[in-house]
């Protein structure tokens, strides 16, 4: 009956039917099933501007280097508060137009950072503008390409009032009298990035990360004494938090970038023996000086211990000699701010 060796019809037909059947089971049906996903209640659809930003994201194929998935393993906790869920992609992964399908946002290479929560991690528009023009202005070691074609170089006199001027160092320009102006495309792209943050889950139903083995050791420690020892040993590392949250703008060496982000090295606020201003800025953000970009607050992202660690890191490095602060102080100021806003 199955004489495949001599019957080409049977051979081809069998291999086609079995393959198509398996494909339906393993790909087409699960795919249909995944489409039934509904968005989370807190999620909002993309605005027209964000949608155009997503198109630019696809056009420049950012997917080649940036993932948008927080895997359910603890090492990915850096990129989001919870593992990604199918609902997260409800609005962003829709067919783009007649020619192009739903974008492959999850990605397969993490040559650059994951962008699931980039809006929380890097809320500043100024930073993004400089970074898109040439990433090495703000992150010296970056290997990301610059996107100068998303900007226009204009003569000072031609700059209109509505134009968004980007403070690019003069040596990178063709003509010293030129100004770099952002195009609508790059503004849309940034708007899209600023929409990328994980929506909160209703109730306590958040899926958990598969914990790393290290954590497990701590919870299974037999005596309470052990617990305290491990806990202090693994207390928040100020240098690490600084590198992850602050260095993108204030730079690795704490010197900031002239015309964009203020220096922390030698800063009067950081060296001040009154700790209040520094703690407040970290918690609330800062927008008091027109010559610098806007800083957002980190009250939601960092806990008291982490803020203490990072503030002390700033106070004891790059020649700074500020007095050390304690988590108690941070806690107090956080509470007073809370009261104030009520």
């Amino acid at each position: 009956m199955f004489n495949f060796h001599q019957d080409h019809k049977k051979l081809v037909l069998t291999s086609f039917i079995v393959f198509a059947g398996l494909s339906t089971l393993i790909a087409v049906m699960p795919a249909y099933h995944m489409q039934e996903t509904k968005p989370l209640p807190a999620m909002q659809g993309l605005t027209e501007q964000e949608k155009n930003g997503l198109h630019i994201y696809v056009q420049e194929n950012c997917v080649a280097c940036h993932t948008q998935q927080v895997r359910n393993i603890e090492m990915d906790n850096t990129w989001g508060e919870r593992p990604s869920m199918p609902s997260d992609y409800y609005f962003s992964k829709k067919r783009l137009d007649v020619w192009r399908q739903s974008p492959s946002l999850l990605g397969s290479e993490r040559t650059g950072p994951d962008l699931t929560n980039i809006a929380k991690r890097q809320p500043g528009k100024e930073w993004h503008l400089m970074h898109f023009y040439n990433p090495r202005i703000v992150v010296e070691e970056s290997i990301m390409p610059g996107y100068p074609w998303l900007f226009e170089e204009k003569n000072e006199k031609e700059v209109a009032e509505t134009d968004v001027v980007v403070p690019i160092p003069a040596q990178l320009l063709k003509d010293q009298h030129n100004k770099v102006v952002a195009t609508q495309n790059v503004l849309d792209l940034i708007a899209y990035l600023q929409s990328l943050k994980q929506a909160p889950l209703p109730g306590n139903g958040a899926p958990e990360f598969i914990p790393s083995a290290k954590k497990k050791e701590i919870t299974t420690a037999s005596t309470p004494a052990d617990v305290t020892v491990t806990a202090t040993a693994t207390g928040p590392d100020g240098a690490k938090i600084y590198m992850n949250t602050c260095a993108a703008c204030h730079q690795r060496d704490g010197k900031g970038l002239a015309g964009a982000f203020p220096s922390l090295a030698g800063s009067t606020i950081v060296n001040d023996n009154n700790h209040e201003t520094q703690i407040k800025i970290i918690l609330q953000g800062y927008d008091a000086r027109a010559e610098y970009g806007v800083m957002t607050g980190f009250a939601d992202q960092l806990n008291d211990e982490e803020i203490t660690a990072v503030a002390n890191h700033e106070r004891t490095n790059w020649g700074n000699k500020g007095s050390v602060i304690t988590a108690e102080e941070v806690k107090k100021i956080r509470e007073s701010l809370k009261k104030l806003s009520q």
């Binding site: 056009q59 992609y89 020619w99």
Partner: protein, 615 residues
């Protein structure tokens, strides 16, 4: 961070510790059990079965390379030895000439008695001149072209090939060679951007846009065109008939080339399908390619249906299977109905994996089932193993696409199936590579005499190593360390280059001289082989080592930018390996030109070469 990790890495690389790993109690059984726990400790990362397995596999490749080298060197040493014996003889006779007369007399006196007895002089032959009446001796020389390595065997006499088939195959291969050079030039450029990100600031040449140009060109331009061209010869030859329609062959040639040209222009212009790997071409462009495949499939099918022998040769199973599966795959990959939300992600895993497995791998195996035995001039070891590999390839390969999305928000059961059946891939891989190995067995000495077989050998070894390593990589622990890192890139070059490209080169060198009657220069083939092989090795090892360190760095929770800094030297080595690979392609293009150029004097013509040699 780097300083902390590097010593650990070096210790781990040492052969000693490797052997210890193999013999420790945590053998494969225990460790497979261990990876069902989803939260491994990274302290013992080097003990993970996937990582140990991969290291052993790389070691196998290194050993084979050393083996080839040793065979070559020993052949060379042998020739040196012979020459030194000859030299000694000459020295001896010169010494005799130099003796004074009294000395000579003395010796002659001593020998006189012994020499009294004389043969008539014609016992072992006659005084006739040696002649070769039957044309057995092709060439006699005491002055080889290249004293460094063994002279390789010439290709046997031409195969009779219908002129239109010959032209078709040459044009397919010609287009393939062009796309190989272009595609890898782009690849090399993109690789250099990791080291010098500011090489240009032109939108059409930016990394994001060029990367898919590289992958799609080498996939659909180089490999696919070469595969189809080589397939035309196999189908006609093994069916003992002529191709159903040359016109369809040409139509497909135009369609596929057109899709690569238009698709690349679109990509560079910023028009892509959404960034899913290997389906970056938008659907109208992909449709051109799919139509090309449909023409090819119908043409092959009708030719095989018209065969003049009752059995369908095993190669044709793979060729027809590869074509019909890929047509199905392209249809599913581009149908819009189920691709919103994570539906697209399920299809992406399925599509990118099957694109490699059902098209490149299946089809190329079919080519090897013909070209390997025919260049060894013996039958394939086992027909049944080939059949087993065919069905298991279809069954297991189809189910494992989601292993590209382990720990992602895709359903856990889908991920588990993918991991389990990835391990199942051992069956077709072992069946296939055993078959090729057993076919080659007993002909090892041919390796030093042939310029084709080293390519086959590397392909076979990488088929086993690359595929098995891929299965290891699907395990959950190895995903912790390697996923999202440059290790993936190393793996894909190990397979698409180490397996597919080396096999295709072997097939091209095997068949072209036979249908055009012109052979490439052997030294140039050797240069091609070694540049490509060494380049691939440098490329692979640097990205594997760097990728591992990067993954460990991420698990450690270091700031992300540190992993970028850590990769810098590895990216440089990758670019160096890539340059060697690209250079080898230029040499290959030259060899191709030599094999097809119209007027040539390198044709083997027995009458010219057979001249008496006065030794």
């Amino acid at each position: 961070m780097m300083k902390k990790k590097l010593p650990q890495f070096q210790t781990f690389l040492s052969l000693n510790s490797l052997l210890t790993f193999i013999f420790t109690a945590s053998g494969i059984g225990a460790t497979i059990f261990a990876q069902s726990q989803p939260n491994p400790s990274t302290k013992d990362w080097a003990m993970s079965p996937g990582i140990i397995g991969t290291l052993i596999l790389i070691l196998i490749v290194a050993l084979v390379a050393i083996m080839i080298l040793v065979v070559r060197i020993s052949a060379y040493l042998e020739s040196l030895k012979k020459r030194s014996i000859l030299r000694k003889k000459i020295e001896f006779s010169e010494e005799l000439i130099g003796l004074d007369e009294a000395g000579i007399d003395n010796i002659l006196e001593k020998r006189k008695a012994a020499l009294n007895y004389r043969l008539a002089g014609s016992e072992l032959g006659s005084e006739q001149q040696a002649t070769d009446n039957k044309g057995i001796i092709a060439k006699v020389t005491h002055d080889p072209h290249n004293p460094m390595v063994d002279e390789k065997k010439k290709s046997p006499l031409n195969l009779e090939t219908p002129e239109p088939l010959k032209t078709l195959v040459i044009w397919y291969l010609g287009a393939a060679v062009f796309w190989l050079v272009f595609g890898t030039l782009v690849g090399q450029y993109v690789g250099m951007k990791f080291v010098w990100p500011e090489m240009d600031s032109v939108s059409w040449l930016s990394f994001g846009r060029l990367r898919p140009v590289h992958t799609n060109t080498v996939f659909w331009g180089w490999a696919s065109m070469a595969m189809i061209g080589l397939g035309y010869f196999v189908v006609a030859r093994t069916s003992n008939t002529t191709i159903h329609s040359y016109k369809w062959g040409w139509t497909a040639w135009v369609l596929i080339n057109l899709s690569v040209v238009v698709g690349n222009l679109f990509l560079m212009n910023g028009l892509n399908n959404g960034g899913g790997e290997y389906r970056e071409y938008i659907w109208p462009v992909a449709l051109l390619f799919a139509l090309g495949l449909i023409y090819t499939f119908l043409n092959f099918y009708k030719t095989i249906a018209n065969r003049c022998i009752s059995e369908i040769y095993i190669s044709n199973w793979y060729l027809l299977g590869g074509l019909i599966w890929t047509i199905t795959l392209a249809t599913i990959g581009y149908l819009p109905n189920f691709q919103n939300g994570l539906g697209e992600t399920v299809i992406q895993g399925y599509y990118m994996h099957q694109g490699v497995g059902m098209w490149f791998m299946t089809y190329t195996l079919g080519l090897v089932y013909y070209y390997l035995p025919s260049s060894l001039n013996k039958p394939i070891y086992s027909y049944s193993l080939g059949v087993l590999a065919f069905w298991t390839q279809m069954f297991f390969y189809t189910l494992i696409g989601t292993h590209h999305f382990v720990f992602s928000p895709l359903p856990w059961w889908l991920q588990t199936i993918a991991i389990v059946f990835s391990a199942g891939m051992f069956i077709p891989v072992v069946a296939g590579s055993t078959n090729f190995y057993m076919t080659m067995r007993g002909s090892w000495n041919e390796i030093s005499k042939s310029y084709i077989l080293p390519f086959f050998l590397v392909g076979v070894v990488f088929y086993f190593v690359g595929s098995t390593q891929g299965s290891f990589q699907a395990f959950r622990f190895t995903n912790y360390v390697w996923h999202f890192t440059d290790f993936n890139v190393a793996h894909s070059h190990m397979t698409m280059y180490g397996i597919i490209t080396f096999f295709l080169w072997a097939c091209i060198y095997a068949i072209l001289p036979k249908i055009t009657g012109k052979e490439p220069r052997q030294l140039a083939v050797g240069v091609h082989f070694w540049l490509a092989f060494v380049g691939l090795f440098a490329y692979m090892i640097s990205l594997m080592a760097g990728g591992t360190l990067k993954g460990l760095n991420w698990i450690e929770g270091d700031p992300f930018i540190n992993s970028v800094i850590l990769m810098q030297p590895f990216w440089l080595w990758r670019a160096i390996g890539g340059s060697l690979m690209f250079l080898s392609h230029l040499v290959f293009a030259y060899n191709f030109y030599v094999m097809i150029k119209k007027e040539s004097s390198s044709t083997v013509s027995p009458t010219n070469e057979l001249q008496p040699v006065n030794a």
